[in-house]
């Protein structure tokens, strides 16, 4: 009898625990969803915080999160004015901001603290778990704060947050299994910022080596400067993936809801389509059902038509390492030379 009670207790504890987790995720979803429906202003930083906080079940310190970004922003601000950068065109403000944040994130910057001068430690790439496969939180910006190690998710996210705080335009952009930054200034026009290897790759290099079909570019699936709304829609997918890592797919409804909402605001968001396809496939395997099969087929057909091609995983690993000087846009380099 006692054993039975204990068993029931354990099960009910587990259930409440899962329920609690789901509550955090639901709250985060509502938060981001309201933002997307224009009920509150778009705030990328807030949306990212919500997704990470849901994963930590509300334990993430919001003040610390905000303070960190505030600190980085002020360091970048001083970099813009202390003469380390030289830029002569009219749009000085935005170009200097682009360079300052890049410099701060990828290089050692001297900061005076009281009477001392200390050097900042640049963020490095997390080679051990770059895709968050061992631990999903390795994708997080808050992890980047704690460990100084990031990946192609957290690094561009942080870059965008700092630029947003500086009040300057900045866009996330997608490549297969990858996120990077697209920026624009008068001197070089549109260019790309790659924080994982601190370089400025050209579009041609991204296309040729990044396994991107030309249709995917035409359909704005990849290599498009994403709007703030699209960036916030992307966090919904982060939320879904965090949920999956933590609670599994469950009945699939939460993840599919995230995907569908993201797609409503970012119709060609390929990662949302792919995740939805994955969930539908898993559900189909559990209970085969013709209408689901049909839904799956149309979805995968759309994905193919948009120009998506699955990239062999080995290729991705070789890819980032292959960017060398002659394949990058040298013109931005000349601005970021430290004097």
């Amino acid at each position: 009898m006692l054993q039975r009670i204990i068993l029931v207790l354990i099960i009910s504890l587990l259930v409440t625990n899962i329920n609690a987790q789901q509550t955090y995720y639901k709250e985060a979803f509502t938060g981001i969803n309201t933002m997307l429906f224009d009920n509150s202003p778009l705030d990328f930083q807030k949306a990212v915080f919500l997704t990470e906080n849901a994963y930590y079940e509300g334990e993430l310190d919001e003040k610390k999160f905000k303070d960190n970004i505030q600190l980085y922003t002020s360091i970048c601000k001083s970099l813009m004015t202390n003469g380390s950068l030289e830029y002569t065109e009219r749009d000085k403000e935005v170009a200097m901001a682009q360079c300052a944040v890049f410099l701060f994130m990828t290089d050692t910057v001297r900061i005076s603290v009281g009477t001392d001068i200390v050097g900042s430690i640049p963020f490095s790439y997390n080679y051990e778990d770059y895709a968050g496969q061992k631990e999903w939180s390795n994708m997080f910006v808050s992890t980047l704060f704690d460990t100084n190690k990031g990946n192609c998710h957290s690094l561009p996210y942080l870059y965008k947050m700092i630029m947003d705080k500086l009040g300057q335009e900045c866009h996330l952009a997608l490549a297969p299994n990858h996120i990077y930054i697209k920026a624009q200034n008068k001197k070089v026009g549109w260019y790309n910022i790659e924080l994982t290897c601190s370089d400025f790759p050209t579009d041609a290099w991204l296309m040729a080596s990044g396994y991107i079909h030309i249709d995917a570019i035409r359909n704005k699936v990849y290599m498009k400067a994403l709007t703030d709304k699209e960036a916030v829609a992307m966090t919904l997918l982060d939320l879904a993936q965090g949920y999956q890592a933590k609670c599994g797919i469950g009945d699939g409804s939460f993840i599919i809801k995230c995907c569908d909402t993201a797609l409503e605001h970012f119709p060609n968001y390929i990662n949302a389509m792919l995740l939805k396809g994955e969930i539908l496939t898993a559900l189909y395997k559990q209970t085969p059902d013709n209408s689901r099969m049909e839904e799956m087929n149309t979805l995968y057909a759309t994905i193919h038509q948009l120009g998506y091609r699955k990239m062999p995983s080995k290729m991705y690993q070789n890819w980032l390492g292959s960017l060398s000087a002659d394949k990058s846009d040298q013109r931005m380099r000349s601005v970021v030379i430290k004097r």
């Binding site: 549109w190 579009d203 041609a204 030309i214 570019i217 035409r218 704005k220």
Partner: protein, 449 residues
């Protein structure tokens, strides 16, 4: 590999020509040489309106000193009066010019001889675009080039040249028992026609017929020596073409043959796109006689993702769009012969009606505004935009319009080729040319042996 093939073809072409000189190879009829009538002073130069003020310097007076002083004084007075009068006239002229430019842009050039040919060509092409007459690339090209030559080309001659080229291709396809109804086969035939040496026999006379590959014009690929170097009729006359005339010639032949082929752009370049029965696209690069991948153009042409997303480059153009884009050739010829007036703007608007992101048309519009702004700045003697804004806000709006147009181009993803990239390309051309020049003459060799 390709280069090797070219040089072999090059040698062969001499060799065959020499050996078979007696058998009188029938080459496709070429067009006669035509000299265009270009007005010596394209009247766009507003500065010409201000002749240098003339100074009167009498030298033939050999009289006594008093008379001379007297005369000198009188002359000086006259001189002053004349120059004051001229200054006043100049000032009036300046003010009228400013008002005229602000009101209606550059003055109409319609009074120039030959402009009517351009207006007629425009009307005919426009009626194709409006759907009143069938779309016809070959006809559009003819109209544009003929306007430049003051209507000196005979359309029938042009047509029969194209027809006989297509007959030649059909003959080869018959010889080789190829499917004359298959789109890809027809396209591959055209590709061979332009890049390979072909041989067949005339059906009735049984005489041998040859066709030699179209060569790349290494000397004047950018029309800097002669404006008509990029003309299709020049290619038909000389057998040499470049990256505008070769694809356009191909499209003209494809149109005649009933093959589906599309014009496509990359920075400072154009080529042909074709599709196979599985809907896969191929890029036919006639300048180097190859089939190239999209990635090749991305890598070598410095193309930005935005440019692809906005359909600037690597996009197969529908026939209507291609013909609209051809209007920019008409504009180029008009500008070359006469200069800027509202005809250019009218054409640009039509182009953009059918090809909304046409960088070529935008470039004309932006250049028009730039020249207008500069002319106004010169007339107002305003060295900086801010000064112009203070002096005459209406003139400043042209400066703003100019900037807006350049921004529009930037936002579309257009970018000038970086100088080093372009230099590399020029260097490549120079090397190719040196190679071609160094090719030993087959005739000398024969004499030695």
């Amino acid at each position: 590999m390709v280069k090797k093939r070219i040089s072999i073809a090059y040698i062969l072409s001499f060799f065959v020509l020499h050996l078979l000189a007696q058998s009188s190879p029938v080459v496709i009829p070429s067009l006669p040489v035509i000299k265009p009538n270009i007005p010596t002073t394209p009247n766009n130069n507003i500065y010409n309106l201000y002749p240098n003020s003339q100074t009167i310097t009498p030298q033939n007076y050999q009289q006594d000193a008093a008379t001379i002083t007297n005369v000198q004084q009188r002359n000086a007075a006259i001189q002053r009066e004349v120059s004051e009068h001229q200054q006043m006239l100049g000032e009036i002229q300046r003010q009228t010019d400013i008002q005229m430019l602000l009101k209606g842009g550059f003055p109409s050039l319609a009074h120039n001889e030959g402009t009517a040919n351009y207006y007629n060509a425009f009307d005919e092409i426009n009626s194709m675009l409006k759907g009143d007459t069938p779309l016809n690339i070959g006809r559009a090209i003819f109209l544009i080039e003929n306007a430049y030559y003051d209507n000196a080309i005979d359309y029938n001659e042009y047509r029969s040249s194209i027809k006989s080229s297509v007959d030649f291709c059909n003959q080869i396809m018959e010889d080789e028992k190829l499917d004359k109804n298959d789109n890809l086969t027809k396209n591959m035939m055209l590709f061979r026609y332009m890049s390979d040496t072909l041989e067949t026999r005339d059906k009735t006379t049984k005489k041998k017929l040859f066709h030699y590959p179209v060569k790349y014009n290494l000397d004047d690929y950018d029309s800097h020596i002669s404006f008509d170097s990029h003309f299709v009729t020049t290619l038909m006359r000389t057998g040499k073409g470049q990256c505008e005339s070769m694809p356009l010639y191909y499209l003209t032949l494809a149109e005649e043959m009933g093959a589906e082929a599309y014009w496509s752009f990359s920075p400072r370049h154009s080529f042909v796109k074709i599709q196979d029965d599985k809907n896969n696209w191929y890029n036919v690069e006639l300048t180097c006689q190859g089939i190239l991948s999209d990635t090749h153009y991305m890598n070598n042409g410095f193309i930005k993702a935005e440019a692809i997303q906005n359909g600037l480059y690597l996009e197969p153009m529908e026939k209507k769009k291609a013909i609209a884009e051809l209007l920019t050739h008409l504009m180029r010829g008009y500008y070359q012969k006469y200069g800027y007036d509202d005809f250019i703007l009218k054409c640009a608007d039509i182009v953009m009606q059918y090809s909304p992101n046409s960088v070529r048309a935008l470039m004309f519009k932006a250049d028009y505004e730039t020249q207008l702004t500069l002319t106004l700045a010169h007339l107002l003697q305003a060295p900086k935009p801010d000064i112009m804004k203070e002096m005459l806000p209406e003139a400043y709006t042209h400066f703003e319009q100019m900037q807006a147009l350049y921004k529009q181009m930037d936002d579309l993803g257009y970018e000038e080729l970086p100088n080093d990239l372009y230099a590399r390309w020029l260097d490549h051309i120079a090397k190719e040319k040196a190679k071609a020049d160094k090719l030993p003459s087959i005739f000398l060799k024969i004499r030695k042996e």
